[in-house]
Symmetry: C3
Amino acid sequence: MPLIKVHIRKGRSEAEVELLLDTMHEVMLSAFNVPERDRYQLVFEHEASHFRALDTGLGFERTSKFVLIEMVSRPRPRSEKLAFYQGLAARLESECGISPSDIMVSFVENADEDWSFGAGVAQFVTGEL
Amino acid sequence: MPLIKVHIRKGRSEAEVELLLDTMHEVMLSAFNVPERDRYQLVFEHEASHFRALDTGLGFERTSKFVLIEMVSRPRPRSEKLAFYQGLAARLESECGISPSDIMVSFVENADEDWSFGAGVAQFVTGEL
Amino acid sequence: MPLIKVHIRKGRSEAEVELLLDTMHEVMLSAFNVPERDRYQLVFEHEASHFRALDTGLGFERTSKFVLIEMVSRPRPRSEKLAFYQGLAARLESECGISPSDIMVSFVENADEDWSFGAGVAQFVTGEL
Protein backbone atom coordinates (compact mmCIF):
# COMPACT_ATOMS: atom_id res chain seq x y z
CA MET A 1 0.00 0.00 0.00
CA PRO A 2 -0.40 2.31 -1.79
CA LEU A 3 -1.62 0.35 -4.77
CA ILE A 4 -0.39 2.06 -7.93
CA LYS A 5 -2.02 1.66 -11.33
CA VAL A 6 0.04 3.12 -14.16
CA HIS A 7 -1.54 3.90 -17.51
CA ILE A 8 0.75 4.41 -20.49
CA ARG A 9 0.56 4.30 -24.27
CA LYS A 10 1.73 1.17 -26.06
CA GLY A 11 5.23 1.36 -27.46
CA ARG A 12 7.61 1.58 -24.53
CA SER A 13 10.33 -1.07 -24.23
CA GLU A 14 10.49 -3.49 -21.30
CA ALA A 15 13.49 -1.57 -20.00
CA GLU A 16 11.62 1.73 -20.15
CA VAL A 17 8.67 0.28 -18.24
CA GLU A 18 10.98 -1.18 -15.63
CA LEU A 19 12.82 2.11 -15.15
CA LEU A 20 9.50 3.94 -14.87
CA LEU A 21 8.28 1.56 -12.16
CA ASP A 22 11.56 1.58 -10.26
CA THR A 23 11.70 5.37 -10.29
CA MET A 24 8.08 5.69 -9.16
CA HIS A 25 8.77 3.30 -6.34
CA GLU A 26 11.72 5.35 -5.14
CA VAL A 27 9.66 8.55 -5.22
CA MET A 28 6.88 6.80 -3.32
CA LEU A 29 9.26 5.53 -0.64
CA SER A 30 10.65 8.98 -0.19
CA ALA A 31 7.30 10.82 -0.07
CA PHE A 32 5.31 8.38 2.05
CA ASN A 33 7.79 6.82 4.45
CA VAL A 34 6.65 3.23 3.82
CA PRO A 35 8.69 -0.01 3.93
CA GLU A 36 10.98 -0.79 1.00
CA ARG A 37 8.92 -3.87 0.13
CA ASP A 38 5.64 -1.93 0.10
CA ARG A 39 5.47 -2.22 -3.66
CA TYR A 40 2.25 -2.91 -5.54
CA GLN A 41 2.30 -1.71 -9.13
CA LEU A 42 0.13 -2.55 -12.11
CA VAL A 43 0.86 -1.30 -15.64
CA PHE A 44 -1.80 -0.92 -18.32
CA GLU A 45 -0.78 -0.22 -21.92
CA HIS A 46 -3.34 1.48 -24.11
CA GLU A 47 -3.75 2.37 -27.77
CA ALA A 48 -4.05 6.12 -28.36
CA SER A 49 -7.68 5.66 -29.37
CA HIS A 50 -8.40 4.11 -25.97
CA PHE A 51 -6.51 6.63 -23.87
CA ARG A 52 -7.78 10.19 -24.16
CA ALA A 53 -6.24 12.87 -22.03
CA LEU A 54 -6.60 16.60 -22.62
CA ASP A 55 -5.58 19.32 -20.16
CA THR A 56 -8.66 21.02 -18.61
CA GLY A 57 -7.45 24.20 -20.28
CA LEU A 58 -4.19 24.29 -18.34
CA GLY A 59 -2.08 24.53 -21.49
CA PHE A 60 -0.27 21.20 -21.26
CA GLU A 61 0.82 19.59 -24.52
CA ARG A 62 0.35 15.86 -23.94
CA THR A 63 2.66 13.54 -25.89
CA SER A 64 2.83 9.80 -26.47
CA LYS A 65 4.85 9.60 -23.23
CA PHE A 66 1.86 10.72 -21.15
CA VAL A 67 1.52 8.77 -17.88
CA LEU A 68 -1.66 8.63 -15.79
CA ILE A 69 -1.11 7.27 -12.29
CA GLU A 70 -3.97 6.05 -10.10
CA MET A 71 -3.14 5.65 -6.42
CA VAL A 72 -5.21 3.80 -3.80
CA SER A 73 -4.02 4.57 -0.29
CA ARG A 74 -4.99 4.95 3.31
CA PRO A 75 -5.39 8.64 4.16
CA ARG A 76 -2.17 10.64 3.86
CA PRO A 77 -1.39 14.24 4.76
CA ARG A 78 -1.80 16.77 2.00
CA SER A 79 1.87 17.66 2.36
CA GLU A 80 2.91 14.10 1.47
CA LYS A 81 0.75 14.06 -1.64
CA LEU A 82 2.14 17.39 -2.79
CA ALA A 83 5.68 16.11 -2.19
CA PHE A 84 4.83 13.01 -4.19
CA TYR A 85 3.59 15.03 -7.18
CA GLN A 86 6.68 17.21 -7.08
CA GLY A 87 9.04 14.25 -6.68
CA LEU A 88 7.43 12.37 -9.54
CA ALA A 89 7.71 15.34 -11.86
CA ALA A 90 11.38 15.85 -11.01
CA ARG A 91 12.50 12.23 -11.07
CA LEU A 92 10.48 11.01 -14.05
CA GLU A 93 11.92 13.88 -16.03
CA SER A 94 15.53 13.34 -14.98
CA GLU A 95 15.48 9.51 -14.98
CA CYS A 96 12.94 8.64 -17.67
CA GLY A 97 12.84 11.67 -19.92
CA ILE A 98 9.15 12.29 -19.28
CA SER A 99 8.09 15.93 -19.20
CA PRO A 100 6.24 17.11 -16.07
CA SER A 101 3.45 18.18 -18.41
CA ASP A 102 2.97 14.49 -19.27
CA ILE A 103 2.40 13.29 -15.69
CA MET A 104 -1.07 13.12 -14.16
CA VAL A 105 -1.99 11.61 -10.78
CA SER A 106 -5.31 10.75 -9.12
CA PHE A 107 -5.61 9.47 -5.53
CA VAL A 108 -8.45 7.54 -3.91
CA GLU A 109 -8.38 6.90 -0.18
CA ASN A 110 -9.62 4.05 1.94
CA ALA A 111 -9.20 2.79 5.53
CA ASP A 112 -7.23 0.31 7.64
CA GLU A 113 -9.80 -2.44 7.33
CA ASP A 114 -9.80 -2.10 3.54
CA TRP A 115 -6.51 -3.94 3.02
CA SER A 116 -5.60 -7.59 3.22
CA PHE A 117 -2.06 -8.33 2.05
CA GLY A 118 -2.41 -12.09 2.39
CA ALA A 119 -3.26 -14.92 4.79
CA GLY A 120 -6.93 -13.89 4.92
CA VAL A 121 -6.45 -11.12 7.47
CA ALA A 122 -6.37 -7.31 7.52
CA GLN A 123 -2.84 -6.52 8.64
CA PHE A 124 -3.56 -2.90 9.58
CA VAL A 125 -6.30 -4.18 11.89
CA THR A 126 -4.38 -7.07 13.45
CA GLY A 127 -1.47 -4.76 14.18
CA GLU A 128 0.99 -6.67 12.00
CA LEU A 129 1.37 -3.42 10.05
CA MET B 1 -11.51 15.36 -13.91
CA PRO B 2 -13.58 13.28 -13.69
CA LEU B 3 -11.44 10.36 -14.75
CA ILE B 4 -13.59 7.94 -16.73
CA LYS B 5 -12.78 4.24 -17.17
CA VAL B 6 -14.97 2.54 -19.75
CA HIS B 7 -15.29 -1.24 -19.83
CA ILE B 8 -16.67 -2.85 -22.97
CA ARG B 9 -16.65 -6.22 -24.66
CA LYS B 10 -14.19 -6.84 -27.49
CA GLY B 11 -15.64 -6.47 -30.94
CA ARG B 12 -16.55 -2.82 -31.40
CA SER B 13 -15.01 -0.93 -34.33
CA GLU B 14 -12.68 2.03 -33.82
CA ALA B 15 -15.46 4.31 -35.03
CA GLU B 16 -17.91 2.86 -32.51
CA VAL B 17 -15.47 3.36 -29.66
CA GLU B 18 -14.80 6.91 -30.75
CA LEU B 19 -18.50 7.74 -30.97
CA LEU B 20 -19.04 6.20 -27.53
CA LEU B 21 -16.28 8.32 -25.99
CA ASP B 22 -17.38 11.51 -27.74
CA THR B 23 -20.97 11.03 -26.65
CA MET B 24 -19.99 10.30 -23.06
CA HIS B 25 -17.87 13.41 -23.02
CA GLU B 26 -20.77 15.56 -24.20
CA VAL B 27 -23.06 14.09 -21.54
CA MET B 28 -20.39 14.70 -18.92
CA LEU B 29 -19.90 18.32 -19.95
CA SER B 30 -23.61 18.90 -19.77
CA ALA B 31 -24.16 17.19 -16.39
CA PHE B 32 -21.10 18.48 -14.53
CA ASN B 33 -20.42 21.93 -15.90
CA VAL B 34 -16.68 21.32 -16.43
CA PRO B 35 -14.35 22.80 -19.07
CA GLU B 36 -14.52 21.41 -22.62
CA ARG B 37 -10.94 20.10 -22.34
CA ASP B 38 -11.63 18.29 -19.05
CA ARG B 39 -11.45 14.97 -20.83
CA TYR B 40 -9.74 11.93 -19.32
CA GLN B 41 -11.04 8.64 -20.71
CA LEU B 42 -9.62 5.13 -20.65
CA VAL B 43 -11.18 2.23 -22.54
CA PHE B 44 -10.71 -1.42 -21.56
CA GLU B 45 -11.86 -4.19 -23.90
CA HIS B 46 -12.65 -7.53 -22.32
CA GLU B 47 -13.49 -11.04 -23.45
CA ALA B 48 -16.92 -12.20 -22.28
CA SER B 49 -15.27 -14.71 -19.96
CA HIS B 50 -13.43 -11.85 -18.23
CA PHE B 51 -16.37 -9.47 -17.95
CA ARG B 52 -19.27 -10.80 -15.92
CA ALA B 53 -22.25 -8.58 -15.28
CA LEU B 54 -25.63 -9.77 -14.07
CA ASP B 55 -28.45 -7.52 -12.83
CA THR B 56 -28.92 -7.83 -9.04
CA GLY B 57 -32.38 -9.15 -9.81
CA LEU B 58 -33.52 -5.95 -11.51
CA GLY B 59 -34.61 -7.75 -14.66
CA PHE B 60 -32.08 -6.27 -17.10
CA GLU B 61 -31.06 -8.39 -20.08
CA ARG B 62 -27.40 -7.60 -20.61
CA THR B 63 -26.11 -7.93 -24.17
CA SER B 64 -22.68 -7.86 -25.81
CA LYS B 65 -23.07 -4.06 -25.96
CA PHE B 66 -22.99 -3.76 -22.16
CA VAL B 67 -20.93 -0.80 -20.92
CA LEU B 68 -19.61 -0.43 -17.38
CA ILE B 69 -18.38 3.07 -16.57
CA GLU B 70 -16.17 3.83 -13.59
CA MET B 71 -15.95 7.50 -12.60
CA VAL B 72 -13.39 9.07 -10.25
CA SER B 73 -14.39 12.60 -9.29
CA ARG B 74 -14.27 15.26 -6.63
CA PRO B 75 -17.56 15.31 -4.71
CA ARG B 76 -20.55 16.27 -6.83
CA PRO B 77 -24.17 16.94 -5.89
CA ARG B 78 -26.52 13.99 -6.07
CA SER B 79 -28.61 15.89 -8.61
CA GLU B 80 -25.65 16.07 -11.02
CA LYS B 81 -24.99 12.35 -10.76
CA LEU B 82 -28.64 11.54 -11.40
CA ALA B 83 -28.64 13.87 -14.40
CA PHE B 84 -25.51 12.14 -15.67
CA TYR B 85 -27.10 8.69 -15.45
CA GLN B 86 -30.21 9.93 -17.23
CA GLY B 87 -28.24 11.76 -19.89
CA LEU B 88 -26.01 8.76 -20.57
CA ALA B 89 -29.00 6.45 -20.97
CA ALA B 90 -30.72 8.84 -23.38
CA ARG B 91 -27.70 9.79 -25.47
CA LEU B 92 -25.97 6.40 -25.66
CA GLU B 93 -29.25 4.95 -26.89
CA SER B 94 -29.95 7.62 -29.48
CA GLU B 95 -26.35 8.13 -30.67
CA CYS B 96 -24.75 4.71 -30.18
CA GLY B 97 -27.65 2.27 -30.22
CA ILE B 98 -26.91 1.03 -26.68
CA SER B 99 -29.94 0.12 -24.63
CA PRO B 100 -30.30 1.85 -21.23
CA SER B 101 -30.42 -1.65 -19.73
CA ASP B 102 -26.83 -2.12 -20.94
CA ILE B 103 -25.38 0.91 -19.14
CA MET B 104 -23.95 0.66 -15.62
CA VAL B 105 -22.10 3.40 -13.73
CA SER B 106 -20.08 3.43 -10.50
CA PHE B 107 -18.63 6.60 -8.93
CA VAL B 108 -15.78 6.96 -6.46
CA GLU B 109 -15.07 10.36 -4.92
CA ASN B 110 -11.87 12.02 -3.80
CA ALA B 111 -10.69 15.53 -2.83
CA ASP B 112 -8.99 18.62 -4.21
CA GLU B 113 -5.53 17.53 -3.15
CA ASP B 114 -5.98 14.16 -4.87
CA TRP B 115 -5.43 15.48 -8.38
CA SER B 116 -2.32 16.57 -10.20
CA PHE B 117 -2.90 17.29 -13.89
CA GLY B 118 0.77 17.95 -14.66
CA ALA B 119 3.81 20.03 -13.72
CA GLY B 120 4.12 18.31 -10.35
CA VAL B 121 1.46 20.38 -8.61
CA ALA B 122 -2.14 19.95 -7.44
CA GLN B 123 -4.07 22.46 -9.51
CA PHE B 124 -7.18 22.46 -7.29
CA VAL B 125 -4.91 23.37 -4.36
CA THR B 126 -2.83 26.02 -6.10
CA GLY B 127 -5.98 27.71 -7.37
CA GLU B 128 -5.12 27.19 -11.04
CA LEU B 129 -8.37 25.25 -11.26
CA MET C 1 -22.42 -4.24 -6.27
CA PRO C 2 -19.76 -4.74 -5.15
CA LEU C 3 -17.80 -4.28 -8.34
CA ILE C 4 -14.86 -6.69 -8.32
CA LYS C 5 -11.70 -6.20 -10.37
CA VAL C 6 -9.45 -9.24 -10.37
CA HIS C 7 -5.80 -8.95 -11.37
CA ILE C 8 -3.93 -12.11 -12.28
CA ARG C 9 -0.85 -13.13 -14.20
CA LYS C 10 -1.24 -14.38 -17.76
CA GLY C 11 -1.23 -18.15 -18.12
CA ARG C 12 -4.34 -19.46 -16.43
CA SER C 13 -6.76 -21.56 -18.49
CA GLU C 14 -10.32 -20.43 -19.18
CA ALA C 15 -11.53 -23.09 -16.75
CA GLU C 16 -9.23 -21.83 -14.02
CA VAL C 17 -10.43 -18.26 -14.48
CA GLU C 18 -14.04 -19.39 -14.40
CA LEU C 19 -13.52 -21.40 -11.22
CA LEU C 20 -11.78 -18.45 -9.62
CA LEU C 21 -14.66 -16.10 -10.45
CA ASP C 22 -17.33 -18.56 -9.39
CA THR C 23 -15.58 -19.22 -6.08
CA MET C 24 -15.10 -15.51 -5.39
CA HIS C 25 -18.76 -14.93 -6.10
CA GLU C 26 -19.80 -17.59 -3.60
CA VAL C 27 -17.54 -16.11 -0.93
CA MET C 28 -18.94 -12.66 -1.67
CA LEU C 29 -22.54 -13.83 -1.38
CA SER C 30 -21.79 -15.48 1.92
CA ALA C 31 -19.87 -12.55 3.44
CA PHE C 32 -22.05 -9.65 2.25
CA ASN C 33 -25.57 -11.02 2.14
CA VAL C 34 -26.33 -9.67 -1.35
CA PRO C 35 -28.63 -11.10 -4.04
CA GLU C 36 -27.40 -14.08 -6.06
CA ARG C 37 -27.42 -12.01 -9.25
CA ASP C 38 -25.36 -9.21 -7.70
CA ARG C 39 -22.36 -10.23 -9.77
CA TYR C 40 -20.04 -7.70 -11.41
CA GLN C 41 -16.56 -9.08 -12.08
CA LEU C 42 -13.76 -7.90 -14.35
CA VAL C 43 -10.58 -9.89 -14.92
CA PHE C 44 -7.30 -8.31 -16.00
CA GLU C 45 -4.39 -10.52 -17.07
CA HIS C 46 -0.91 -9.06 -16.74
CA GLU C 47 2.62 -9.96 -17.74
CA ALA C 48 4.94 -10.38 -14.76
CA SER C 49 6.81 -7.24 -15.79
CA HIS C 50 3.56 -5.27 -15.53
CA PHE C 51 2.36 -6.70 -12.23
CA ARG C 52 4.69 -6.09 -9.32
CA ALA C 53 3.68 -7.22 -5.87
CA LEU C 54 6.00 -7.56 -2.92
CA ASP C 55 4.92 -8.09 0.69
CA THR C 56 5.52 -4.94 2.81
CA GLY C 57 7.94 -7.05 4.84
CA LEU C 58 5.26 -9.51 5.98
CA GLY C 59 7.20 -12.52 4.76
CA PHE C 60 4.84 -13.69 2.02
CA GLU C 61 6.36 -15.54 -0.93
CA ARG C 62 4.33 -14.40 -3.92
CA THR C 63 4.06 -16.88 -6.80
CA SER C 64 2.72 -16.73 -10.36
CA LYS C 65 -0.71 -17.55 -8.89
CA PHE C 66 -0.86 -14.23 -7.02
CA VAL C 67 -4.30 -12.58 -7.16
CA LEU C 68 -4.98 -8.92 -6.40
CA ILE C 69 -8.63 -8.12 -5.88
CA GLU C 70 -10.00 -4.57 -6.01
CA MET C 71 -13.47 -4.11 -4.55
CA VAL C 72 -15.73 -1.08 -5.00
CA SER C 73 -18.67 -1.17 -2.59
CA ARG C 74 -21.10 0.86 -0.55
CA PRO C 75 -19.93 1.00 3.08
CA ARG C 76 -19.87 -2.37 4.80
CA PRO C 77 -19.21 -3.30 8.42
CA ARG C 78 -15.64 -4.17 9.29
CA SER C 79 -16.80 -7.61 10.39
CA GLU C 80 -18.09 -8.38 6.89
CA LYS C 81 -14.83 -7.35 5.27
CA LEU C 82 -12.82 -9.49 7.68
CA ALA C 83 -15.13 -12.44 6.99
CA PHE C 84 -14.65 -11.86 3.26
CA TYR C 85 -10.84 -11.94 3.56
CA GLN C 86 -10.99 -15.11 5.63
CA GLY C 87 -13.51 -16.77 3.32
CA LEU C 88 -11.48 -15.93 0.23
CA ALA C 89 -8.31 -17.35 1.74
CA ALA C 90 -10.04 -20.57 2.74
CA ARG C 91 -12.06 -21.15 -0.43
CA LEU C 92 -9.49 -20.05 -3.01
CA GLU C 93 -7.04 -22.45 -1.39
CA SER C 94 -9.41 -25.41 -1.22
CA GLU C 95 -11.17 -24.85 -4.57
CA CYS C 96 -8.51 -23.21 -6.73
CA GLY C 97 -5.22 -24.26 -5.17
CA ILE C 98 -4.17 -20.67 -4.46
CA SER C 99 -2.18 -20.15 -1.28
CA PRO C 100 -3.55 -17.56 1.19
CA SER C 101 -0.17 -15.85 0.89
CA ASP C 102 -1.01 -15.17 -2.78
CA ILE C 103 -4.28 -13.33 -2.12
CA MET C 104 -4.41 -9.55 -1.67
CA VAL C 105 -7.53 -7.40 -1.38
CA SER C 106 -8.14 -3.64 -1.47
CA PHE C 107 -11.56 -2.02 -0.87
CA VAL C 108 -12.79 1.41 -1.89
CA GLU C 109 -16.17 2.63 -0.65
CA ASN C 110 -18.79 4.87 -2.17
CA ALA C 111 -22.44 5.80 -1.53
CA ASP C 112 -25.98 4.96 -2.61
CA GLU C 113 -26.13 7.64 -5.26
CA ASP C 114 -22.88 6.39 -6.81
CA TRP C 115 -24.45 3.39 -8.52
CA SER C 116 -26.63 3.09 -11.60
CA PHE C 117 -27.22 -0.52 -12.66
CA GLY C 118 -29.14 0.42 -15.80
CA ALA C 119 -32.10 2.38 -17.17
CA GLY C 120 -30.47 5.71 -16.35
CA VAL C 121 -31.44 5.72 -12.68
CA ALA C 122 -29.73 5.14 -9.31
CA GLN C 123 -31.50 2.09 -7.94
CA PHE C 124 -30.33 2.59 -4.33
CA VAL C 125 -31.86 6.08 -4.47
CA THR C 126 -35.13 5.16 -6.17
CA GLY C 127 -35.67 2.35 -3.68
CA GLU C 128 -35.64 -0.39 -6.31
CA LEU C 129 -32.68 -1.82 -4.38
